[in-house]
Symmetry: C2
Subunit: 408 residues, 2 copies
C-alpha cells in the first residue's frame, strides 16, 4: 500500500517522540508499504516564533510571518528524516516547493490549488520515504505561504489525492473519533467507522481530531482516512464512504460552550429582511452559527448564534442600524451552550429528534432553540445544564450495547 501519514505537533514534540514515531514508520515500511510522512512543527515552535515576531513588531506582515513560521515544519521534517535514516530507512525531507504543493497567494490562510507530485514520485521510486513539511505551500511568486490552522491535515489529504494513495492516516494525540468529548461524557466511545459527512459535521462542530477542510477534501476525492494515536497501536477511526446499511443513525454528540444567542423580534418577512441582518454582521467580520426563523407565523423573529466574544460587536452594530433592519426588539443570551447530535442515518430514522427532546425532558432541561439538518440536530441549552444535557443525550443513543445493536 501507498500510505500518506501525518504526525501532529505533540507527536513530534521532542526527540523521543520523533524517534518513537520513526520506529512506527519503519515497522509499517517493513510490512511492505511505501510511505509519505507529513509533519507539523514541534510542540510550541510556531507559538514561540510568533512571540518573537510580536516582540519586534505588533504589525508584522503576513508574508513574513509565513516565511518565519513555515521553518518550524521544515525543521520537523528534517529531524524526522534523520530519525528514519537512523532506523535504516532511506529518507529525504522535502519542503512545500520541493513537494510541488501549489497554493493561492493569501499569506497566512492560503488554499492548496494543486500538487505536482513529480519529485515525490521520484523519491518513492528510489525507495525513499519522503517527509514533507506540513501546513505550507508555494504561491505563484515562489513565496512560502501557510494554509491556516490544522493545515497539516489538509497537506496530508492533498498529497494522498495527488499520489492516488491507498490510505491517509492522521496520527494525533487521541486514538480516534469519539461519540462525545470523553472529558465531558464518561461513557463516550470510540467510533470505528464513520462517513465523510458525519466526520465533517463532527469536525466543524468542534471535534478537534481532524481539520474540517481536510475532511472536506477527503470526501470530495474519496480518500480513505484513518484517525489514530501516534503513541499506541490502538485501532483508530476509519473515515470512508459508508454504505447505508452500515450507518449508525447517530454517530456523535458535540458541545460548544463559547456561544451567545441573539433574537431579533418583529423583522418583517419582506425580501431583504434577513439579508439586511446578516450582511450587516458579515461586514463586522463576525461568523454566524446556527440561524433559525420559524416559517409562516408572520411574527418575524430571527434567532442566530455567534461566538460569545463577538456578541458585543454584533449588538452594537444591530442597535446602530435599527432603522435599516427595522426590528421591534432585540434580545440576547450569553449564557448558552450549543449541543449537536450528528448522524448520517438520522434522515431516514424517525424519532431521533424526539429522542433528544425526551432525554432532556427526563432530566428537566429546557431547549432554548432548535435547528436541524438532514444529519444533524442542534439545540441551545442554558450553559449551566451543558454537562447534564450532553450526558443525557449521549446515554440515550449510546447506552451500553445500544450502539452496536443499532449498527447491526
Amino acid at each position: 500500500m501507498l500510505i500518506v501519514r501525518k504526525y501532529g505537533g505533540t507527536s513530534v514534540a521532542d526527540v523521543q517522540n520523533i524517534i518513537s514515531a520513526a520506529s512506527n514508520i519503519a515497522k509499517t515500511y517493513s510490512d511492505g508499504n511505501r510511505l509519505v510522512i507529513v509533519v507539523s512543527a514541534q510542540g510550541d515552535t510556531t507559538d514561540e516564533l510568533l512571540a518573537k515576531a510580536a516582540k519586534i513588531s505588533g504589525g508584522a506582515g503576513k508574508r513574513e510571518i509565513d516565511a518565519l513560521i513555515s521553518t518550524g515544519e521544515q525543521q520537523s521534517a528534517a529531524l524526522m528524516a534523520i530519525a528514519l535514516r537512523a532506523q535504516g530507512l532511506p529518507s529525504v525531507s522535502l519542503n512545500a516547493a520541493q513537494s510541488g504543493i501549489n497554493a493561492t497567494s493569501a499569506y497566512g490562510n492560503a488554499r492548496i490549488k494543486s500538487v505536482d507530485p513529480e519529485r515525490l514520485r521520484f523519491e518513492l521510486e528510489q525507495g525513499n520515504t519522503a517527509v514533507v513539511a506540513g501546513f505550507q505551500g508555494m504561491n505563484k511568486y515562489g513565496d512560502v505561504v501557510t494554509i491556516g490552522r490544522g493545515g497539516s491535515d489538509t497537506t496530508a489529504v492533498a498529497l494522498a489525492v495527488a499520489l492516488n494513495a491507498d490510505l491517509c492516516e492522521i496520527c494525533t494525540d487521541v486514538d480516534g473519533v469519539y461519540t462525545a468529548d470523553p472529558r465531558i461524557v464518561k461513557n463516550a466511545r470510540k467510533i470505528r467507522v464513520i462517513s465523510y459527512d458525519e466526520m465533517l459535521e463532527l469536525s466543524s462542530l468542534g471535534a478537534k481530531v481532524l481539520h474540517n477542510r481536510s475532511a472536506e477534501m477527503a470526501k470530495r476525492y474519496r480518500v480513505p482516512l484513518i484517525v489514530r494515536s501516534s503513541f499506541s497501536d490502538a485501532e483508530g477511526t476509519l473515515v470512508k464512504d459508508v454504505p447505508y446499511m452500515e450507518r449508525m443513525y447517530v454517530s456523535g454528540v458535540t458541545v460548544d460552550k463559547e456561544i451567545a444567542g441573539v433574537t431579533l423580534l418583529g423583522v418583517k418577512g419582506e425580501p431583504g429582511g434577513a439579508y439586511n441582518v446578516f450582511s450587516l454582521i458579515a461586514r463586522e467580520g463576525v461568523s454566524v452559527g446556527v440561524i433559525t426563523r420559524t416559517a409562516g407565523t408572520g411574527s418575524g423573529d430571527i434567532s442566530f448564534t455567534v461566538v460569545r466574544s463577538e456578541l458585543g460587536k454584533v449588538l452594537g452594530a444591530l442597535e446602530e442600524n435599527k432603522d435599516v433592519i427595522r426590528y421591534t426588539d432585540l434580545k440576547y443570551d450569553d449564557r448558552v451552550a450549543k449541543i449537536s447530535v450528528v448522524g448520517a442515518g438520522m434522515e431516514s430514522t424517525p424519532g431521533v429528534a424526539s429522542g433528544v427532546f425526551e432525554a432532556l425532558y427526563a432530566v428537566d432541561i429546557g431547549v432554548k432553540m432548535i435547528s436541524t439538518s438532514e444529519i444533524k440536530i442542534t439545540i441551545l441549552v442554558d450553559e449551566r445544564d451543558t454537562e447534564a444535557a450532553v450526558n443525557a443525550i449521549h446515554d440515550r443513543f449510546f447506552a451500553m450495547g445500544a450502539h452496536d445493536e443499532e449498527k447491526r
Copy 2:
C-alpha cells in the same frame, strides 16, 4: 549607492539586536541608498539544531542537516524583514531559492555557482529592501545546501557581484581588521585600508573577521568590502584594490597556536619524494600548512606544519609507510606556534624579514622554521614564546607613529 550588507550571528542574536540593526539599516536607506541585507542564524541557533539532530542520530546525513540548519538563517531573515517594516521600510525576506543562489550539490560544503538576481532586482525596483538568508544555496535538485562555515560572508559578496553593487559591508562583532589580535597584542591597531591580497593572507591565517572565500571572491570581482561593527558607527576597514603608493609594507601579524611541526630527515630529492609524503598525508584527510625544504643541500630534509590535533594520525601514517617514503628519521614538535607577518608592500621593501628576526633576537626568541612568500613571512617559535614574539614583531612594525609614517 546599492549596498549589500551582512549581519553575523551575534549581530542578530536577540530581538533587541535585530531592532537596532534594523534602525541602522533604515538610516542608511534614508540617506538615499538601496540595500540588500544578508543575515546569519541567530546566535546559537545552528548549534542548537545540530545538537537536536545529534540526539536523534549520530550519523545524520548531510542533506538533512542542511535542510535543518538552513532554517536558522531563514528565521533571521523573516525577523529582520519584520523589524524593517516596523521601521517603515518596505521589506521582504528571501530564501536561497528565491534569491536565485545556485550552488553545487555538495551538501554541507557547497560552493556558489551563480546568482540569478531577477527576483532581487524586482524587489529593489519595487522599493523593497530584500533580506536574504545567508549561508545557503539551491542545488540542481532543488535541495537546500549550506556553503560551509563563514558562508554568509560569501553569500554577501556573491550577491554584491551579481547585483553589481557599489559596496559590500560585513557587519560583525569587531569594528574592523587589526594589525594583530588585540587580545594578545595590546598595541594592536585598526587598519583603515587594506588590499585584497593582504586581507586574504590575514583571513586565511586566522583573523576571523572575514571568511577566506569571501575575500577571494571579492578580490576576483573587485568588490569593495568594508568590515565594521554592527554595534557602533566606528569606521571599519576598507578592503579594496590599493594602489602601490598607498600600501603599507606590513599590514598585520597573526598567530596560530594549534600547530605541530614535523620534519622528515633524509628524504631524497629524486622525483616523487615530496609527492610520496604529501599524497600520503592528503589520503589521511589532513591539510598541511607551511612546507619548507631547503634548496640544494642534498640532505633531503622536509618540514611542514599540521593542525596539532591531527599530528597523531600523520605520524602513524608516516611510520607505517617508511618503506615507501624512504626517510632516515622523523622528528616532530607539538609545542610550537605559527606567527605570520603579512604585507603587500613587503615584496618591494627590503629588510622586512630581517626586521622580524631582529625583533625576535632582541627578546631572545629562537626561530624554528621560516617560510616566506611575496607578501608573507611565516615562522615557527616555541609555544611558550608566542605572546612575547608577536608583541615584539608587532611593535617593530607598528610602533606608535611608525605605521602612519611608513604609509606616507
